[in-house]
Amino acid sequence: MKLLKLVPDNTNIGFVKLRHWAFALTALLTVLAVGATFYKGLNMGVDFVGGLMIEAKFQQPPHLEKVRGVVDRLGVGDGSLQQFGDPKTVQIRLPLPEQGGAGAANAIVEKARKAMTAEFPGVTFSRYDTVSGKVSGELIQNGVLAVMLAVVGIAIFSWFRYEWQFGISTFVAIMHDVLMTLGFFAITQLEFDLNIVAAVLTIVGYSINDKMVIDDRIRENMRKYRKMDMKALIDLSVNETLPRTVMTSVTVLLALGALLLLGGHVLRGFTAAMMLGIVVGTYSSVYVSSSLLITLGLSPMGSEKRASKPNIAAQAERMGPRDDGARP
């Protein structure tokens, strides 16, 4: 049987040569993403802005205008409607009353249920969330804190494990991934809720995984070919790990694709964010973090200087076996 090879043997793409173009493109996209996030804003779910969210499932696909009419007649403030892939399911969002707590929220749900049932017999509320302003504020804080801690924590790890340049390049690349994801949500106006924070953290985790593999190979090659030019060395490392990069992206995208198509509407935003993150993360591994190492002036000499420091024993266990010259 002939085995599938997505990346042919001895592929040698000059990634580093293209880095200025790539940087320009990256910068442009990042500016776009940040701009979109600021000017368009994120479509925050009730998790983050507080309020009441009702998901109503109708017997027949309803006329949205009719549903909107019912919501407006409730007289509890500005409501908004959103539809998922399923035409029978409509998400209704309402503001929470300032006063009254649980009782008031209950009353609104009951009122809405009555009004909806009168207009659309057989409608059911398949779920509803109410989040008070106080809790939603804490959820935002925790979400932002979690993402920041993850990014910084991972950058520190790669700084200690490798050279400082790796720490910075990883940090920049991951920030890039996070900003891109935010921009995606700003542009598509998909709802940004707690699940998406989990998705962002996962993207951070996956992206770092990807970068570690390449960084690890760069370090290995730096020890192997001490005289090699840094640009050539990074090209070599990225190309050597390219089959793995592509394979893994494909397997993960296959798995997520199944989830996107079949996993139900509740997870759709989550999965979409993750698929985008995989693509962006793979791109930033090759173009942002690896190429940035050159700009930051990483050189094999630098690593040698470090290795000659007194803590040489600590370095030794990471050296791996010497190449025994099997390479032709």
């Binding site: 085995l3 599938l4 707590g101 649980a102 209950n106 059911t124 996962t202 995984n209």
Partner: protein, 533 residues
């Protein structure tokens, strides 16, 4: 590298078998698992988004606790200074800005007053830390300020009691496996799976259920009462169902009997048999007090007060002896039943408000499970097929490892009693995608080593060795992200992080160690001189 002594094989297979074994109960119906011994009931719990149900986050106002404590202190001070032979006259009592202050009428008695108050302000703890600070200002005014430690202690014990009361109330509702946990300083999380009517639950938790019986002040001027003014010694309370006009009523401040003296409460019907009421029974002391008061006040009305609102104000037609009574007041069967439950489980020491609620209907939950399951199966099949066409025999080893990994994750979750949520299913699917990453790394490395001209065994050995280091480092960073999610995330984020972290740990084992053993079996049996990878 490719030699596995017998103990090593046992070390690989034993944990995997235990993991798989523990995953089995999750696939069996309740009726079967129920017969298992306790330690074998290692099942994955379904989160509310999958089973349907309600998640409520209740918050107690710490200010309420502090206020109530101050009110109690005021009462204690009054009683203490009025007691005994040497009464100390005080005035200008006010509790503002969270502290209590009053003036001692005769300045020469200030020191004596402080002496008598001090024992009241001592904390109960062994450290003897004060709950309140007592100070004399302007030579005749005494202020009593609660200390932070005192407030913290009071909030803590109030929360403990509140959690217990809530547990009792929910148990009385007959719901299945509720989770009730204190969270942070002043919050309680309540999760009730499969609940059909969350409104009833919230109504039940929303009542403090402080029950009091007080005599109605019939001498009060109705016009003044309507304006909220009551004679000295009386107070005006809301009375929504008042048949005689305005929704307020004046009652004497003194409590005749309170809900603390109850031993039982049941929903019932009145003599005519059609109006729902609540039958209550007092303990010995409460029964005597109730009998005494009702004997002395025949033909006068008394008020039944719940959470500061008058439910009804019936006339005492005859002395109520024997220790039982009934509460009437515009009940439906449901609300009477709720009140009975609330009274049986005791009053909440502090009022709770719902600050977050998530309710998922059972239908959506079932749909989500079905969708998640289908997506997982398709994901496994797609990834497995892709691995097979890319790596042939080695791809199948990886696939076997992934299949075992899925079972082991379920088993570990069962052992930990972890909860599977919808994002958790997404975590599963992602784990399936990333678990093969370790194998991809290894196999690509073996391909590389072959291209460099190493022989089969050397390539395999090198491939595993070199890739293992990378895999380890990549997974540590991945675990950092997962750990942060677990620590800081709430709800869905946590559910996702649990699966991710367990998956990281188990996949390193199955994808690296387990497949290495499989490969070594094959290499030793066949002694291949060429590999197809």
């Amino acid at each position: 590298m490719l030699n596995f002594p017998r103990w090593a094989v046992a070390g690989i297979l034993l944990p995997l078998l235990i993991g798989i074994f523990c995953a089995v109960p999750s696939f069996l119906p309740d009726s079967v698992v129920g017969h298992f011994p306790k330690f074998m009931q290692t099942r994955v719990n379904l989160g509310l988004d999958l089973s349907g149900g309600s998640h409520l986050l209740l918050e107690a106002s710490t200010q309420d606790v502090a206020k109530q404590r101050l009110a109690n202190m005021e009462e204690q001070v009054r009683t203490e200074l009025r007691r005994g032979d040497t009464k100390i006259a005080i005035g200008d009592i006010s509790s503002r800005d969270g502290k209590l202050s009053f003036m001692v009428r005769n300045p020469s008695e200030v020191d004596a007053a402080v002496e008598r108050i001090r024992p009241l302000t001592q904390g109960a703890g062994l450290t003897g830390q004060r709950d309140f600070n007592v100070e004399v200002v302007n030579s005749s005014t005494i202020t009593i300020t609660p200390t932070q430690a005192g407030i913290d202690n009071a909030v803590k014990s109030a929360m403990e009691v509140a959690t217990e009361v809530i547990r009792k109330r929910i148990d009385e509702m007959g719901t299945r496996e509720p989770t009730i946990q204190q969270q942070g300083g002043n919050r309680i999380v309540v999760q009730v799976p499969g609940l059909q009517n969350p409104k009833a639950l919230k109504d039940l938790l929303g009542q403090t259920a402080k029950l009091e019986f007080k005599l109605v002040d019939v001498n009060a001027n109705p016009a003044e009462v309507a304006q909220g003014r009551a004679p000295v010694g009386s107070e005006v309370l809301p009375y929504p169902g008042n048949p005689a006009g305005p929704p307020v009523i004046a009652v004497y401040r003194q409590v005749m009997v309170s809900g603390e003296d109850l031993t039982d409460a049941q929903q019932g019907y009145d003599q005519r048999g059609n109006t729902p009421i609540v039958n209550i029974r007092f303990n010995g002391a409460g029964g005597r007090k109730f009998g005494q008061v009702t004997s002395q006040n025949v033909n006068r009305p008394f008020a039944i007060i719940l959470d500061g609102k008058v439910l009804s104000a019936p006339n005492i037609n005859e002395p109520i002896l024997g220790g039982s009574a009934q509460i009437s007041g515009n009940f439906t069967v449901e609300s009477a039943n709720q009140l009975a439950i609330a009274l049986r489980s005791g009053k909440l020491p502090v009022a709770l408000t719902v600050v977050e609620e998530r309710t998922v209907g059972p239908q959506l939950g079932a749909d989500s499970i079905k969708a998640g399951l289908t997506a997982s199966i398709i994901a496994v099949v797609a990834v497995a097929a892709f691995m097979f066409v890319s790596y042939g025999r080695f791809g199948m080893y990886a696939n076997l490892a992934v299949a075992i990994n899925v079972l082991v994750i379920l088993g570990v979750m069962g052992i930990l009693g972890a909860t599977l949520t919808l994002p958790g299913i997404a975590g599963f699917v992602l784990t399936i995608g990333t678990a093969v990453d370790a194998n991809v790394l290894i196999y690509e490395r073996i391909r590389e080593e072959r291209r460099r001209g190493r022989n089969v065994v050397q390539s395999i050995e090198h491939g595993y060795k070199e890739a293992s280091r990378t895999i380890f480092e990549a997974n540590v960073t991945h675990a950092i992200a997962g750990g942060i999610m677990l620590a800081l995330g709430s709800g869905p984020v946590k559910g996702f992080a649990i699966v991710l972290l367990i998956g990281i740990a188990t996949s390193v084992f199955t994808a690296v160690t387990f497949t290495r053993w499989l490969v070594s079996l094959w290499v030793r049996a066949k002694r291949p001189t060429e590999i197809h990878i």
